[in-house]
Amino acid sequence: MVAEKMDTDKQADGPAPETEAKAGQARQMSPLEALFGLVNVLETSVKLKETKMGRVMRICASTRSQLSPETLRAFFSTVLADDVESKGFLTAHAEQASAGQVAAMDTSEASSSGKAESQKPTNTPEVEIMCFMLLLMNLLDNKKAQQAKEVSIKALQRLSTLNRRTLDTIAARIYFYYAWSHEQTGQLADVRSTLLALHRTTTLRHDSIGQETLLNLLLRNYLHYGLYDQAEKFRSKAQKEDVFRSHQQYCRYLYYLGRIRAIQLEYSEARDCLQQASRKAPTSALGFRVTADKWLTLVRLLLGEVPERAEFAVPGLSQPLQPYYEVTQAVRRGNLDAFAQVAAKYDAVFRADATRNLVTRLHQNVLRTGLKRISMAYSRISLADVAAKLALPSVEDTECIVAKAIRDGGVDAVLDHDTGAMASKETQDVYVSSEPAEAFHARVAFCLDLHNEAIKAMRYEVCCSRMRASRRRQ
């Protein structure tokens, strides 16, 4: 199973222009100070009973790379009040993590220790859970999956005792890390029942972000083990909102849905889902787009469309997509031998991507494309020649194959059995038919849908009058 890069998570929150500046500032601020700032923002959000926590997440994302276990340990011991039950656990793990690393204390750290005293310890549950999240982020970034797994289990235990809506966003992240750490240690199957129970709880509590995250985690879980049937059943029966609250979760959901549909031979639907997933994904989520594009290419090939070369030439995508590009070329040429070669050459890659079976299905498409090219090139050609060109074993097979192709409408020709030849029909002026109108209609419909979705996505600024008032006061 391809690991989607964790960067998708951190960058997918889409830093707004203002936080670019903040991030710039953060680089001058020591990480510890940044974390203290984070605590303040979090506490204000909790007081205002905001559930979205957008700013908190952005700050987390921007400080993530600078965190070290040593910093975290100092942070935990300062910020958490003594009566917070997980404090000991967290500090112990941070120490354990930093034990293997050389603690680099630079001068900025020393100067910020003065700041540390001015930070009051707090026992807000949100801060505690956020500490869990920061620790998990750090452990996973440093590839300490086993430890991350233990921490995440404890985090879940702690979460099960709390029921606060302000915790929802952070809790959703923790579920993600919980599943991810198990996946890294190869024990994904264990978490399935926990995830299901959590999904039930979040649905009952109307915690939409948690619900969406868990839905995707469960789908990922099932697909990892190839349980497409269960995945589809779960997806169809699980309660979910009509409109996903979180953009990132929606992209992931589309990707998983596309995969399920592809396996079930519903190629058009699969193509739509995968295309949307790829388009809607944030530009910085490179790993995700690569994976989605791989599946998208194969689905398009299976549908009979051949993707353009230019699509593979996008910087950043071209290298990982190279095997798929070669497959596309083989299909376009319609040569079975070439196709078999490519399939064998990249067999390991396809296996890792779980796309091997799809590639095998392409065999038929190779033939089809080849036949199409032949029928367009020749007005009349003997079946023996066709067999030679397509590297098919016998003329009889060829005849049957061509007959089926004609029936399916892939090839416009007529067979003459007696002479053993295939005669192509006259191509007609496409503008006479209704094809242009239909193509046009498809495009128009797409644009209108896009327009509607864009309008729906615009949210009315709830506190715009408050902002105006505050601006006036300033």
């Binding site: 396996i263 091997r356 004609i406 029936r407 059995h417 729906k456």
Partner: protein
């Protein structure tokens, strides 16, 4: 007690099966099933016990035979039940038992069954669960090859393999159903692809035994037969392709207008 009784019943079952005595088979099976569920070591209870291994092996054999019996009986519902139970059983006991010698054969049979019943989506979903190594094994590879031929349209190969008596008679049983479907497919292909066909060729392609059969078939499908040739209605008469149907165009235009003016 239960174990020994079950073992006895299983022996009886095997015996009846080898004699092709289907009725006895089913009655014994029914009794056996009732006995089997009393084993505590079966999933989902999964209680460990000293006789666990034997129990599990016994159950597995029984289920495998159930599958075979149902194929012989050509009972689709029974086939469904049997295979589903067996599949789940394999999955659950993979860690506990050494792999069964029959496993690949039965997997192959399962896939074939799905193919024959034209449940292609489920076929592929099942395929995802089978590792590439297993796919290379002859029993499974053969079925995969068949699927490919069906997709491509190499029906002749399909029919050839069915009549050559490959694999076991179980395969043959399933394939007999396939033959009719395939024949229909070939017929519709011929209809579209050929303008006319000599009777002899048609007979060969559709795997009929004699001329009478092919004539009867042609009559069913309303193909005129003249001078030893069958004439198909070619759709090449579509000289005039009509433009887009006006009603559809009007509908589309109205829809655009509505969407543009609508406040979402």
């Amino acid at each position: 007690m239960a174990l020994q009784e079950s073992a006895a019943l299983l022996a009886k079952l095997k015996d009846a099966y080898s004699k092709n005595d289907l009725k006895t088979c089913s009655s014994v099976l029914d009794q056996l099933k009732v006995k089997l569920i009393q084993f505590p070591s079966l999933p989902p209870v999964n209680q460990p016990s000293p006789t666990a291994q034997q129990e599990l092996t016994l159950t597995r054999e029984a289920l495998e035979h159930a599958c075979c019996v149902s194929i012989k009986q050509q009972d689709e519902a029974a086939m469904e039940r049997a295979f589903v139970q067996l599949k789940v059983f394999y999955e659950d006991t993979r860690s506990k038992l050494p792999p069964s010698p029959q496993e690949t054969t039965l997997q192959g049979l399962n896939l074939l069954r799905l193919l024959v019943q034209n449940r292609v989506a489920e076929f592929h979903t099942e395929l995802e669960l089978i590792t590439p190594e297993t796919q290379a094994l002859p029993e499974v590879a053969h079925v995969l090859q068949m699927e490919r031929w069906l997709m491509e349209g190499a029906y002749n190969k399909v029919l050839a393999s069915s009549q050559s008596g490959t694999a076991t008679d179980l395969h043959a049983q399933l394939m007999s159903q396939l033959a009719t479907t395939v024949r229909d497919e070939i017929a519709s292909c011929c209809e579209k692809a050929y303008t006319q066909l000599k009777l002899a060729d048609a007979q060969r392609m559709m795997m009929f035994d004699n001329e009478k059969a092919i004539l009867a078939y042609a009559a069913e499908h309303n193909w005129p037969v003249q001078g030893g040739r069958i004439f198909f209605q070619v759709e090449g008469k579509a000289g005039k392709v009509e433009g887009p149907p006006p009603l559809a165009l009007i509908n589309n235009a109205l829809m655009y207008a509505k969407e543009l003016e609508r406040i979402v």
